[in-house]
């Protein structure tokens, strides 16, 4: 009886090794967001230029909510011009780009805005509450909210022109 069962021993290792191999296709750091398809949480912040920034006032438009920080180099630095371009290109079509600055200092943030000559509204999230409301776990992260106020897509990492175009064309 033991004669053939003994080979079970090396065989038993195979599923474990297979599972470890499967691990290579996964990315342990990418967390799928449970918020996609749910209403975007309302927030009211004060932008760097002093004006109020509230998400509800933007209902009816497509909103691109981008979380960034001035110390987030190179990703936020790469995507800042992309976002500014998107703002310029799509604002006539009812798209608003909104930047939320987290874990940052006002001086560094304003220097960042000046450096990339960003004209879309940017506001600091001092207490980190908006970041938690959106389940943000790193910067940069970008959320695409449709006209009805539902989060339709989330992009983790620097956005590119292709991503912006592809997502916005879907939502417009």
């Amino acid at each position: 009886m033991t004669h053939r069962w003994r080979w079970l021993l090396p065989m038993a290792a195979l599923p474990v090794l297979g599972l470890l191999a499967y691990g290579f296709v996964l990315d342990p750091r990418s967390i799928p967001s449970p918020l996609v398809g749910r209403p975007a949480a309302a927030f009211t912040l004060t932008a760097f230029d002093g004006s109020p920034l509230a998400l509800e006032t933007l209902r009816g438009k497509v909103v691109v909510v981008n979380f960034w920080a001035s110390w987030c180099n190179p990703a936020c630095y790469d995507e800042a011009p992309v976002l500014e371009r998107a703002w310029q290109t799509y604002r006539e079509r009812g798209v608003v780009v909104v930047g939320v600055d987290m874990q940052d200092t006002p001086e560094a943030a304003q220097a960042f805005i000046r450096r990339f000559q960003l004209t879309f509204p940017n506001a600091p999230d001092a207490a980190g509450k908006v970041a938690v409301e959106y389940g943000v776990y790193g910067v940069p992260e970008t959320f695409f909210v449709d006209r009805a106020g539902t989060i339709r897509a989330k992009h983790v990492g620097a956005v590119t022109d292709d991503v912006i175009r592809g997502t916005l064309d879907r939502l417009l």
Partner: protein, 648 residues
């Protein structure tokens, strides 16, 4: 120049290792000692080449040779010289060099020690060691080349990860790797035993000291890692059940099981199959550890992953596991038990139970560590398995092990009579119960803490009973007390070394119990001059100071402490801002004591120094963990001491 010389040397070493492994195996199969001789020479040459490479690397670091990519990535002109040396193993490629060099050193020692006294097994042992070396040399030349040239040569390097600028960095990887690589030797002997069919005790007695030494270094590496975590990482803890910590802990668990179950094989010739399986599992787990750190499949604070290296490790791990288990299955028939047992209540049973608990703990930790992968594979949902889970499931197992630590050494072999049980365990059991009562009366209400303390008292009592009885027996023969005790310990150094190690584990267990059950913490924002209180300590915030260091900018907060054993102390936690890091590193300050540590972490602060957020912790009995480590060291040293052959 250096990249080319180093790279070339490694390629030569790789070729020699492969040739040597094949030669030794062929020499053993065909009975040609000349081949085995040449394999020996290959081993010596590989050792020389690797030592040269390591020296070359250290030289490159000390001379700021930024033409070597590894040097440029891990140091800069501001790195102090001692950290430049330790930076050699601070990142992936260099860590493999260190590992391989240790393997080569161990191979050399095996050649010197066992060339003559392990005639049959030796060629196969050599072959396996060279084979494993060849793999690591392959990794050093293909996926993770350490001697890569960087063009153009930069003016300054990137710098060492600031978390690694610590004394723990100098010792933790070294101790840990000495432990990991040390287990290659018993594994090689086990393979040799299986291939030659000589599965009796020789391979075990030959590797006894190797096993204890490797086990000790692994223990030391884990303890230093805990110490490093406690005083560098700024979270006030020493063990986070991080996947890579688990990966180092698992071979320790199976290594401990192995250490104990070989005693059964030595005395009673049982469990031969099990011991072989255990040592294979231990070695496989050491490989799994390096795989986990370098593959990136599980997110971890330790991970320093890169490219395709994970695939290399997984393939090697698979090959090793399948061949080793295959050999085990092949020799199954020869490995039946040869001994007998008279009763379930016996030392054999205690040891078996010890193994069950340790291996169950290993599998639990393993499954918990890979469960995020499993969950994603099955459900598509990512889950986390962290400290709360591991603490909850492992505590009962460890408490059981502590109990066995008391029972095992004293209970009789084969069959423990009622008389034997009474003689050995009555008093300790009483003491344990009394301790539980006392602890309860003192106000401790956590059931686990009470149990832990009662068991510790029980075990300490059993050790005392044995030592007293042994000393008394010698005294009756006419020896004076101190001499009697000393000679007892030395004459039976294996047994009493083991006892001292158990004592060390007890002290560590008490430290863990204390820190888990009775630590308190608080977090608050203070204005300058304001104070806060915790557990009898008054901590006052006195201001901030900024300073420019050789490779970073530091903001230090001053806190004055009153109360406890820290009267009038000034604590200076800081935040270090490194240019190459995106965010500051917290630098904690603490006042250590025998029974409690006061621990201060600086959080957010106002630019003008008017206020700061501070996290205070009073951690209890953490120092006992480090003290336990020292006791462990003494015990291990006693256990490996050369045996006195004189009678009495």
């Amino acid at each position: 120049m250096i990249p080319e010389i180093g790279g070339g040397a490694l390629v030569v070493a790789l070729a020699l290792a492969v040739l040597g492994a094949v030669a030794a195996a062929t020499g053993a199969r065909t009975g040609r000692p000349a081949l085995v001789e040449s394999a020996q020479h290959a081993a010596l040459a590989v050792y020389a080449l690797l030592t040269g490479c390591l020296a070359l690397l250290v030289y490159a670091f000390l001379r700021f040779d930024f033409s070597v990519r590894y040097v440029a990535m891990n140091t800069n002109l501001g790195t102090p010289f001692y950290y430049r040396i330790t930076a050699v193993w601070g990142a992936l490629e260099g860590s493999i060099v260190l590992w391989a060099w240790m393997l080569a050193t161990y191979t050399l020692i095996v050649v010197v020690r066992h060339r003559r006294n392990a005639r049959e097994l030796y060629p196969w042992v050599l072959s396996v060691m060279l084979g494993v070396l060849a793999f690591f040399l392959l990794v050093m030349t293909v996926p993770a080349p350490v001697f890569q040239r960087l063009t153009p040569v930069p003016a300054d390097g990137r710098g060492l990860n600031p978390l690694l600028e610590d004394s723990g960095m100098i010792t933790h990887p070294v101790a840990l790797y000495l432990g990991f690589t040390g287990f290659t030797v018993p594994f090689a002997f086990a393979m040799a035993a299986l291939v030659t069919g000589r599965v009796n005790d020789f391979w075990i007695t030959a590797t006894r000291r190797w096993t204890i030494t490797a086990w000790y270094f692994l223990s030391l590496g884990l303890l230093i890692g805990g110490w490093w975590s406690y005083h560098v990482l700024g979270w006030g803890g020493y063990w986070a059940w991080d996947p890579v910590e688990n990966a180092a802990f698992m071979p320790w668990l199976t290594g401990t099981a192995f250490l104990h179950s070989v005693m059964i094989q030595e005395r009673r010739r049982m469990l031969r199959l099990w011991n072989l399986a255990l040592v294979i599992l231990t070695f496989a787990l050491t490989l799994f550890g390096t795989f986990l750190t370098r593959s990136g499949i599980i997110a971890s604070v330790h991970a320093f992953t890169q490219g395709s290296i994970g695939v290399f490790f997984l393939v090697f791990l698979s090959v090793v596991v399948l061949i080793a288990l295959g050999l085990l299955a092949w020799r199954w028939d020869v490995l039946g038990a040869q001994g007998e047992l008279d009763s379930v209540v016996s030392r054999e049973s205690a040891f078996l139970l010890n193994n069950v608990l340790l291996v169950a703990a290993t599998f639990t930790v393993f499954f918990g560590t890979i469960f995020p992968l499993v969950s994603e594979a099955v459900r598509g949902v990512k889950v986390s398995v962290g400290m709360p889970f591991f603490n909850q499931v492992n505590v009962p197992l460890f408490l059981g092990l502590i109990f066995l630590m008391g029972v095992g050494p004293l209970i009789a072999w084969r069959r423990a009579s009622l008389d034997n049980l009474k003689r050995n365990f009555l008093w300790p059991a009483v003491i344990g119960a009394v301790a539980a009562g006392v602890v309860w009366a003192l106000g401790v209400r956590s059931a686990l803490a009470v149990l832990s303390l009662a068991l510790a008292a029980f075990v300490a009592a059993t050790i005392t009973v044995d030592v007293v009885r042994g000393t008394r027996a010698r005294r009756r023969l006419g020896e004076a007390l101190p001499g009697a005790l000393g000679r007892l310990l030395l004459r039976h150094n294996r047994r009493y070394g083991g006892f001292v190690v158990h004592l060390g584990i007890l002290v560590i267990a008490l430290g863990v119990t204390g820190s888990q059950a009775w630590s308190v913490q608080t977090e608050t924002t203070l204005q300058r001059g304001e104070h806060t209180e915790l557990a009898g300590y008054r901590v006052r915030f006195d201001g901030l100071a900024a300073s420019e260091e050789s490779n970073h900018f530091k903001v230090t907060a001053t806190f004055t402490v009153d109360g406890g054993h820290a009267n009038g102390t000034v604590l200076l936690p800081a935040k270090k801002f490194y240019p190459q890091e995106q965010s500051p590193i917290a630098y904690v300050d603490y006042r250590l004591g025998l029974f409690e540590d006061l621990y201060v972490v600086l959080g957010d602060f106002a630019r003008d120094g008017s206020q700061a957020t501070v996290k205070l912790q009073v951690n209890r009995l953490v120092s006992w963990i480090w003290i336990g480590g020292l006791v462990l060291t003494l015990g291990a040293a006693l256990a490996v001491a050369p045996e006195r052959r004189r009678l009495v």
